[in-house]
């Protein structure tokens, strides 16, 4: 049980992929203007990363390792992720159209969200088993969602303030993200 608690706190607060490691910055800056869209993107990413960590672990241990093709894992993983995103998109369309309408627009963007690939690669490097990999994927994605929601909340609030013109848009978002990252540094060594 304690392994899972360590993974939970670690991936969400201490080693948050966005705030402590610089992964997934493009969607973090791009889809954080509104809290609602940030939540949609976060849920879609959580969904895909959890499934992707499950399948990439299987691919690594039942396909690449037996065939001694570990050096091809970048290609293999990104293919798995791209196919998975496509499958999830089609499945959602058929199974739950309302969910598809809510998450659909974000799905194509997830293939190039580097958190997905980074989680898959790090799960292998960290030597997690199948269950731990899936759980760690889910927690990492929740950490990404948390960072996205926090930035979106701040950006929505800043709409109401009189920020100088040259701060609006990306420069402001970057400086907000930097200040947010300072607050995450207090968690260092928590686990």
């Amino acid at each position: 049980m304690s392994t899972f608690f360590v993974i939970l706190i670690g991936q969400i607060l201490v080693n948050n992929y966005v705030m402590c490691q610089f992964f997934g910055i493009c969607p973090f800056l791009g889809v954080s203007k509104k809290v609602d869209t940030a939540l949609g993107m976060g849920l879609a990413v959580t969904f895909v990363i959890t499934i992707a960590s499950f399948f990439t672990w299987l691919v690594q241990n039942f396909l690449l390792v037996p065939l001694h093709l570990e050096y091809l894992h970048t290609i293999a993983f990104i293919l798995v992720i791209a196919v998975l995103v496509q499958v999830v998109e089609n499945a959602l369309k058929k199974l739950s159209y309302s969910l598809y309408q809510a998450l659909g627009v974000y799905l194509p963007l997830i293939t190039t969200n580097c958190v997905v690939l980074a989680v898959a690669i790090n799960n292998i490097t960290d030597g997690y088993n199948l269950l731990e990999s899936t759980f760690s994927g889910c927690c990492s994605a929740l950490g990404f969602t948390l960072a996205l929601l926090l930035l979106a909340g701040i950006r929505e609030r800043m709409e109401l303030s009189n920020m100088p013109k040259w701060m609006q848009g990306f420069p402001g978002a970057l400086i907000m993200a930097g200040l947010m990252a300072i607050s995450f540094m207090g968690f260092g060594g928590l686990i």
């Binding site: 809290v35 929601l149 926090l150 909340g153 701040i154 929505e156 609030r157 800043m158 303030s161 009189n162 920020m163 100088p164 701060m167 402001g172 400086i175 907000m176 200040l179 947010m180 300072i182 607050s183 995450f184 540094m185 207090g186 968690f187 260092g188 060594g189 928590l190 686990i191």
Partner: protein, 316 residues
Amino acid sequence: MQRHLTITPSPHVRDRASTKNIMQEVCLALAPAGIASIILFGASALKLICFSVLTCVLTEYLYQLIAGHKSTVGDWSAVVTGLMLAYNLPATAPWWIPVVGGVIAILLVKQLFGGIGSNFMNPALTARAVLFISWGGLVASYPNTLYCGGVDTISSATPLALMAADPSQVSFVDLLLGNVPGILGETCKIALLLGGIYLIIRGIIDWRIPATFIGSVFVLFLLTSGFNFELALKEVFAGGLMLGAFFMATDYATCPLSRLGRVIMGIGCGVFTFMIRAYANYPEGTSFAILFMNVLTPLIDRYTMPKFFGEVKKNA
């Protein structure tokens, strides 16, 4: 602390005069802790406070001069930020530490986002965190007081660190009077309580935040130490908890607006302070806990704001 958005029951008063009044009250409430720090740590404390306040006021003045904005130096908010920043530094810090910190607090955290009331993180605490991460050796040292070894000697352990080993090593009277190693403003708890209670009586800060903040730290240490009252009580009186709970977490611009939101903020600060004190790399977690809850504040506001009369729920 930028007290621009004065959140009061109606009638709402939001003019310059009231901002200035509130800031002056806060300065007054901060004064006892400042005087105590000068008594405890001597002239170096006075020097740091002067450098910090002057840098903050000057940075605000110069920025607004260059950017062509109307000057807000007269509202005393930069003075409050300067005092807060100085209170978070050890007496041994060199003069340029408060200068760098003051520029960061006023320019990066406050003015770039539109000035007073627009910042989403406490400027003084953010600047202190930047200094702490950058120059840990200079900022994270805890000198002894003049009456207990002298300022030139750096204590090997703060009261918090000593207590982790054995709570009876720290005397309660020393904790109250401030005769313990620490940063300028945090040691003398009597002065801080005096200022904090004054602000609550004057209706300037909401009692909910300090009460829930300090209360949750007390309860968590009580529960995890097997009901060791001495330890839990001393945890409350050690470190920067009082300074943070009364003066930093209650900043109007960076704490939630609703009552429920403020209770959440207080408990959140308490939980994270406990987590960082008990388990993380840093001996003291108050400032990082407050910063994290500052970042969370817009979301707390979003989900706890009372529904306005006549508001219709949008296509549920």
